[in-house]
C-alpha cells in the first residue's frame, strides 16, 4: 500500500449527541475499550495497511487529540518521510476554521493533499470503529476501475437500530452503487456506509474544487448523491465487527461489547493490534475481599470492592464495599467505600463519594462529566 495516503476527518457535527462526554473533546478522542481512544483504532487501520502518510483534520477542541497523538511515535508514524500530520483549523481567507462539511474541510487542507506524493487517498470519518486493512478494498477499487469506492457493512442486531442518519447504499450485482438514502428511519437498503472512501488524489482535488466553486460542502450530498450517475461509485463490503458511535447508548454498547471475546479480540487485538499511547501504569491490583465478574480492567486499577459487567479504564479505584455494575468508568475515576453504581458512564477523574447511589438504565446510562464530584 505504498501508493496510498490516509486522511481522517474528525467532524464535530455529531459530537453534540454524546452530550457531556464530548464537551471537551471530539468523538475521535473518546476513550474506549479500557485503554484506547477512538482515533487509535482508525490510525492503527492505516498503519496496518502500511500507509505511512496520514493527515488528521481536526476542528474545535483538538487539544485532547494533540495531547494523545504527540509526534505519532506510538503508531510508528514519526517518520522522516511523511508520517502523521495533524491539520488543525486556522483562520485565513480560504479557511474559516469551522467546517461545514467534509468537502469544506478537505478544501481548507488542499495544500496537504497536493503535497502528498501517493496516488490514492483513503478518507475516513471518525465516528465508526472497526479493525481492518484497506488492501483488499484498494484491489477491488482498481479491479472495478471505480472512481470512488465506499466501505460498507450490513448492520445486524443492535447495530441495525440507527440512532442518527446513516448513508444507505443500493448496490447492483456488480457492487456498483445505484442509489443513496441518508436516513435514520428508513431501511430500504440494508447496506450502510462506514464513512470510508478510496479515490484517486487527482479526482479528489478536482471534486473539492468544483464543489467549492458551487458553494457545496457536503461530500455525501454534493458528490455522492448529486454525481452518482457521472461517477463510478462502488461499495465494498466489510464483514467484521462494526460500531457506529451515534449516541450515548451506542457508545455505552461499544464498551460493553468489549466484554465479549468474539468482539473484543477482532476489534482490539487479533490479527491487527490497536496501538495506543503507553502510560506505564502498574498492573491492576485486587485486594483481599475484591470481587470481579465479567469485567475488562486496565492497568493501574485498584479493586477493593465488587465489580460486575463493567469496563474500567486505567487507574480506576473501587473502595471497600462499593458495588459497580454495568458501568464504564474512565481513567482515574474513584469510587469510594460503599458507593453503589449501576449503568453509569463516568468520565475521566470523576469522584463518587462514600455511600452514594447512582442508577441508570441500559438505554439511558447516567453520564458523569469529567472531574465531577458526586
Amino acid at each position: 500500500m505504498k501508493d496510498v495516503f490516509g486522511l481522517i476527518y474528525t467532524s464535530d457535527e455529531s459530537d453534540m449527541r454524546l452530550r457531556d462526554l464530548t464537551r471537551s473533546r471530539p468523538i475521535a478522542a473518546m476513550p474506549m475499550g479500557g485503554r484506547y481512544r477512538v482515533i487509535d483504532v482508525l490510525l492503527s487501520n492505516m498503519v496496518h495497511s502500511e500507509i505511512t502518510n496520514v493527515g488528521l483534520i481536526t476542528q474545535r477542541n483538538y487539544h485532547a487529540l494533540m495531547d494523545h497523538l504527540g509526534s505519532g511515535k506510538e503508531w510508528d508514524l514519526n517518520r522522516k518521510r511523511d508520517g502523521l500530520f495533524i491539520l488543525p483549523p486556522y483562520v485565513s481567507r480560504s479557511n474559516t476554521g469551522s467546517y461545514t462539511g467534509m468537502l469544506d474541510a478537505i478544501r481548507s487542507n488542499l495544500g496537504y493533499v497536493r503535497r502528498s506524493s501517493q496516488r490514492y487517498a483513503v478518507i475516513c470519518g471518525s465516528n465508526v470503529v472497526f479493525n481492518t486493512r484497506f488492501d483488499e478494498m484498494l484491489k477491488f477499487h482498481q479491479e472495478k476501475n471505480a472512481d470512488i469506492t465506499i466501505l460498507y457493512n450490513v448492520p445486524v442486531g443492535e447495530e441495525a437500530k440507527a440512532e442518527a442518519d446513516r448513508t444507505h447504499l443500493k448496490l447492483d450485482a456488480d457492487g456498483r452503487v445505484t442509489d443513496i438514502e441518508v436516513t435514520q428511519s428508513l431501511n430500504n437498503y440494508p447496506a450502510a456506509s462506514m464513512d470510508v472512501y478510496i479515490m484517486d488524489k487527482a479526482l479528489l482535488t478536482y471534486l473539492v474544487e468544483v464543489t467549492a466553486a458551487h458553494y457545496q460542502t457536503d461530500f455525501v450530498r454534493d458528490v455522492l448523491m448529486r454525481q452518482l450517475r457521472e461517477l463510478k461509485v462502488y461499495g465494498y463490503e466489510y464483514k467484521g465487527y462494526v460500531k457506529r458511535i451515534e449516541s450515548i447508548a451506542s457508545f455505552y454498547r461499544l464498551n460493553m461489547d468489549m466484554l465479549d471475546e468474539s468482539k473484543r479480540t477482532p476489534l482490539l487485538y487479533k490479527p491487527y493490534p490497536v496501538y495506543t499511547k503507553v502510560k506505564d501504569e502498574v498492573p491492576a491490583r485486587y485486594e483481599a475481599g475484591a470481587k470481579a465478574k465479567n469485567c475488562l480492567l486496565a492497568d493501574g486499577c485498584i479493586i477493593e470492592g465488587t465489580v460486575e459487567n463493567s469496563v474500567l479504564f486505567r487507574g480506576v479505584r473501587i473502595g471497600k464495599g462499593a458495588v459497580v455494575k454495568n458501568c464504564v468508568l474512565m481513567q482515574s475515576v474513584e469510587v469510594q467505600d460503599g458507593a453503589q453504581l449501576s449503568h453509569v458512564i463516568a468520565d475521566k477523574g470523576a469522584f463518587i463519594k462514600r455511600d452514594r447511589n447512582l442508577v441508570g438504565q441500559e438505554s439511558w446510562p447516567v453520564v458523569i462529566e469529567k472531574n465531577a464530584v458526586i
Partner: protein, 401 residues
C-alpha cells in the same frame, strides 16, 4: 560534548542460580512484577535520575535482552546525544575475548566511555529490584570529594556473611572491605553500585589489565587496590527497598512482596515510574466464573479460574476451574482447565496441562520457558521442569508402565 556521568550496567551474568529461568535468557531479562523485567529497574532509575547515557554490557544469551532494550524508547533513553547502548564483547585486531570480569568488561569499553568524556562513571548491576536516585549519590560523591562512592545497604546481621561488607569510620568513609566475612564487623553490604571519577578509574582499569594475576573484578581487585592505596572511599547508605533476585526463592519472594497491603515495594509513585517495553495488549478480562483476590493482573490476561495471592504477567491465561495460589505466572503462560498451581513460577509461554498439579507446600516449583506440560502432570515442590527434564520425566513414566 562531554557528559557529567555515564552509567555502565553489567548485564552479562548468567544467573545460574535461577536455574531453568535463565537457560535461554540473561538474568536481567527475567520478567518481574507483572509487566517488568529486572533490567527495567536500573534503566528506569537512570532515566528518572537524569543519567542519559547507559552502556549495557551483555554477554550471556543476549538476544532477549537486545531486542527488549531496542532503541531505549520505553525508558526515554532514545537520545540524540547519548541514550542506551548495548555493548557485547567484540574482536579487536587478532585478539578478542569474552568479558573476563566486571572490571574487564568496563576496560574493553574504554573507547565507548571516552567518547562522552564524562566526569563520573556509575557502575550498576542488573540483579536487583530497587528504586534509587543516582543523582543523589553522585551529589554526595562530589560533596565529599570522594575517589569512589559505594552504595551500601544495612542487611540483617545474620545474613551479612553472604555479602561484600564495607567497614566504615564515623564519617562514612570506608576503611576496610571484606568479601563474605565469616565474622562481619558491620552489616553495610555493598549493593554493587559504584561512582568513580572517570580519569582515575581509567588508570586503575589499564593497570589492572596488565596484571595477569588479577581476576579483573571490581569487588576482588579494583576496590581493594584503591583502598590499599589510601584513596578516599565513601559509603553511601541506601534505606529503601532493595532485593537481590538471584535465586528462585528470592525472585518469588520479591514478587510476593508486591502483594502486601500496602506493598513492601511501591510501584505507584508517579514521580518515579518504572518503565517497561509495553506489548500493547487489551485490558485484562475476568469472566463471570473467575475469582480474583489479593492479586496483580495486567493487560492481555484472561482469568476464568481462581487466582489468589499471585501475579499474572501480560497475556497469561487461567482457564475455568484452574486454581493459582501464591504463584508467579509469566508472560503468555496458560494454566489449563482444572489445573492447580501453588507456590510456583510458571515461565513465559509455558502451558500447564488440564488437571495438572504443580507445586505445593515446600520449595518453589518452576516450569521453564515454553514447556508444555501434558494433562494430569504432577510437578513436586522444588522441582524445575524444562524441555529436557520433561522428556526425561515422560520416558521414566513410560518405563514405569
Amino acid at each position: 560534548m562531554g557528559k557529567k556521568c555515564v552509567a555502565m550496567l553489567l548485564a552479562g551474568g548468567q544467573g545460574s542460580r535461577l536455574g531453568v529461568l535463565t537457560r535461554n535468557m540473561a538474568k536481567p531479562a527475567v520478567p518481574f512484577g507483572g509487566k517488568y523485567r529486572i533490567i527495567d529497574f536500573p534503566l528506569s532509575n537512570c532515566s528518572n535520575s537524569g543519567v542519559d547515557v547507559v552502556g549495557v554490557l551483555t554477554q550471556y544469551q543476549p538476544l532477549e535482552l537486545n531486542s527488549y532494550i531496542g532503541n531505549g524508547m520505553p525508558w526515554d533513553l532514545d537520545r540524540l546525544n547519548g541514550g542506551v547502548y548495548v555493548l557485547p564483547p567484540y574482536i579487536k585486531g587478532k585478539s578478542g575475548t569474552w568479558y573476563k570480569g566486571t572490571a574487564n568488561a568496563i576496560y574493553q569499553n574504554l573507547a565507548f566511555i571516552e567518547q562522552f568524556d564524562p566526569e563520573y562513571v556509575l557502575i550498576l548491576s542488573g540483579d536487583h529490584i530497587y528504586k534509587m536516585d543516582y543523582s543523589d549519590m553522585i551529589a554526595e560523591h562530589e560533596r565529599k570529594h570522594a575517589d569512589c562512592t559505594i552504595a551500601v545497604y544495612s542487611v540483617p546481621w545474620e545474613e551479612a556473611s553472604r555479602f561484600g561488607i564495607m567497614n566504615t569510620n564515623e564519617d562514612g568513609d570506608i576503611v576496610e572491605f571484606e568479601e563474605k566475612p565469616a565474622n562481619p564487623k558491620s552489616n553495610n553490604a555493598s549493593m554493587g553500585i559504584y561512582v568513580f571519577n572517570w580519569k582515575d578509574l581509567k588508570q586503575y582499569l589499564i593497570e589492572d589489565e596488565k596484571n595477569p594475576e588479577s581476576s579483573n573484578d571490581f569487588g576482588k581487585n579494583i576496590i581493594p587496590r584503591m583502598l590499599s592505596e589510601g584513596k578516599h572511599m565513601v559509603a553511601y547508605g541506601f534505606s529503601g527497598y532493595w532485593k537481590d533476585v538471584g535465586t528462585i526463592e528470592s525472585l518469588w519472594e520479591a514478587n510476593m512482596d508486591l502483594l502486601q497491603s500496602p506493598p513492601a515495594f511501591n510501584l505507584y509513585d508517579s514521580s518515579w515510574r518504572i518503565y517497561a517495553r509495553n506489548p500493547i495488549l487489551p485490558p485484562h478480562y475476568v469472566s463471570d466464573k473467575a475469582q480474583v483476590s489479593n492479586a496483580m493482573v495486567t493487560e492481555g490476561c484472561v482469568v476464568e479460574g481462581t487466582v489468589s495471592h499471585s501475579i499474572l504477567f501480560s497475556g497469561a491465561k487461567v482457564e475455568e476451574g484452574a486454581v493459582v495460589e501464591n504463584s508467579v505466572v509469566m508472560n503468555g503462560a496458560v494454566i489449563r482447565k482444572g489445573a492447580r498451581v501453588r507456590r510456583a513460577i510458571v515461565s513465559e509461554n509455558a502451558v500447564v496441562g488440564a488437571d495438572s498439579n504443580v507445586g505445593g507446600n515446600g520449595r518453589i516449583a518452576v516450569i521453564g520457558e515454553g514447556v508444555s506440560l501434558p494433562e494430569y502432570s504432577v510437578v513436586k515442590p522444588g522441582e524445575q521442569i524444562d524441555a529436557e527434564a520433561l522428556a526425561k520425566k515422560q520416558s521414566a513414566e513410560e518405563e514405569a508402565k
